[in-house]
Symmetry: C2
Subunit: 184 residues, 2 copies
C-alpha cells in the first residue's frame, strides 16, 4: 500500500472511531470523510460499505472482548452470579456505541456480513461461558451459544433503542439467567 493511501486509511479509521463514539454507528459517512480531510471517494474506495468501516474500527475491540471474558470467568461466586456478571459484561461490550447491539446481534449467522469475524468472537465467548456452566452441571441441556448470544443481544438491543439505564436492564438479565440455568 502506498504511503499516502496508508495514511488516509489510518486517518479515516481514527476519525470514524471518534464520530461513531459520539453519534453511534449510524453517523453520516461524509462527516467522517470531511473531518478526516479526505474526499468521499477515498473513504468509499477503502471501505465499500459502512460495515467494512465498522469492522476496521473494531479491530482493537476484539482483544477487549477476550480479556473481559477471562475476567468474567475468573469471578468468585456461584453459577448464577457468574452468569449475571457475564451478561452485564456482554451487554457493555456490544453497547459501547449506539446501534452496536442491533448491528452485532443482527449479523449473527450471516455468513456474508463484513463484521462476521466480530460476531464469531462474541459467540465464542458465550460458548466459553456455557462450557464452564456445563462442567458444573447447572446448564439447561438444550441451550447453545448462538441462542444465548441472541437472547442477551436482544435485551441489549432493546436497552440501546430505549435508552434504558442499567438498573432497568438488570432484571431482564435475571430472567434470562433463570431461564438458562437448570431448575434446582
Amino acid at each position: 500500500m502506498r504511503a499516502d493511501a496508508q495514511r488516509n486509511y489510518d486517518r479515516i479509521v481514527e476519525t470514524a472511531r471518534e464520530v461513531f463514539r459520539e453519534k453511534g454507528y449510524d453517523a453520516p459517512l461524509d462527516e467522517i470523510a470531511k473531518k478526516a480531510d479526505v474526499g468521499p471517494g477515498t473513504l468509499y474506495r477503502h471501505f465499500p460499505s459502512r460495515d467494512d468501516l465498522i469492522d476496521a474500527v473494531m479491530k482493537a475491540w476484539v482483544d477487549s472482548v477476550t480479556e473481559a471474558t477471562d475476567k468474567a470467568l475468573a469471578r468468585e461466586g456461584g453459577p448464577r452470579e457468574l452468569l449475571l456478571g457475564w451478561f452485564e459484561t456482554y451487554v457493555g461490550l456490544i453497547s459501547a456505541h449506539k446501534g452496536g447491539p442491533a448491528k452485532l446481534t443482527g449479523a449473527i449467522g450471516d455468513k456474508d456480513s463484513p463484521i462476521r469475524s466480530k460476531c464469531q468472537v462474541l459467540v465464542s465467548s458465550n460458548r466459553r461461558v456455557l462450557d464452564r456452566l456445563q462442567a458444573d452441571g447447572v446448564l439447561r441441556p438444550d441451550v447453545d451459544e448462538v441462542q444465548l448470544s441472541r437472547l442477551v443481544g436482544g435485551v441489549a438491543t432493546v436497552a440501546d433503542q430505549s435508552d434504558l439505564p442499567t438498573a432497568a436492564v438488570r432484571p431482564l438479565l435475571e430472567v434470562l439467567a433463570d431461564g438458562v440455568l437448570v431448575r434446582s
Copy 2:
C-alpha cells in the same frame, strides 16, 4: 374535515398499509405519496412524522391484539404451554411488518412517542397474561408487564433483523418462559 382532505387522508393510509406490508416500516414516504397520487406536502401535512403515519395504519391492528390475547388466554394446557403460546402470538403480532418489533418495543416507556397508545395495548395484553399466571401462583414475583414486553420484544427484534425462521425463535421463547415461571 373537507371532503378532499378526508379522501386524501384515507388514500394515504391505505397506500401506506400496502407499501409498509411490502417493504416494512422503513419504506420511503415519497413512494407512498406517489402511489397515493398526492404531493409530498400533503402527506407531510396529515402526518408530520413517519410514526404518525404508522400509528394511523395500526388503528385496526389494535383490535386484533385484543382478540389474539383472548384466544391465547382461552387455550387448554398448563401454564408453560399458555405462556409459550402467548409468546408466539405476541411475536407474530408485532412482527407483521418488517421493522415493527424494533419500533414497537423501542417506544415502550416513551411518553412522547406517536405510537404510544399502540405500545400501551401491547403492555396491557402482557399484563393480562401475567395476571392469569399470578392467579395460578406460577409466576416469579418480581416480573412486571413492561419487562415481559421488552424481553419478548427483544427476541422478536433479533428475529426480525436476522430473518430467523419460527423454528429458531421457539427455543429462545422457551428460555424466557422458564425464566418467568417459578421453579418447581
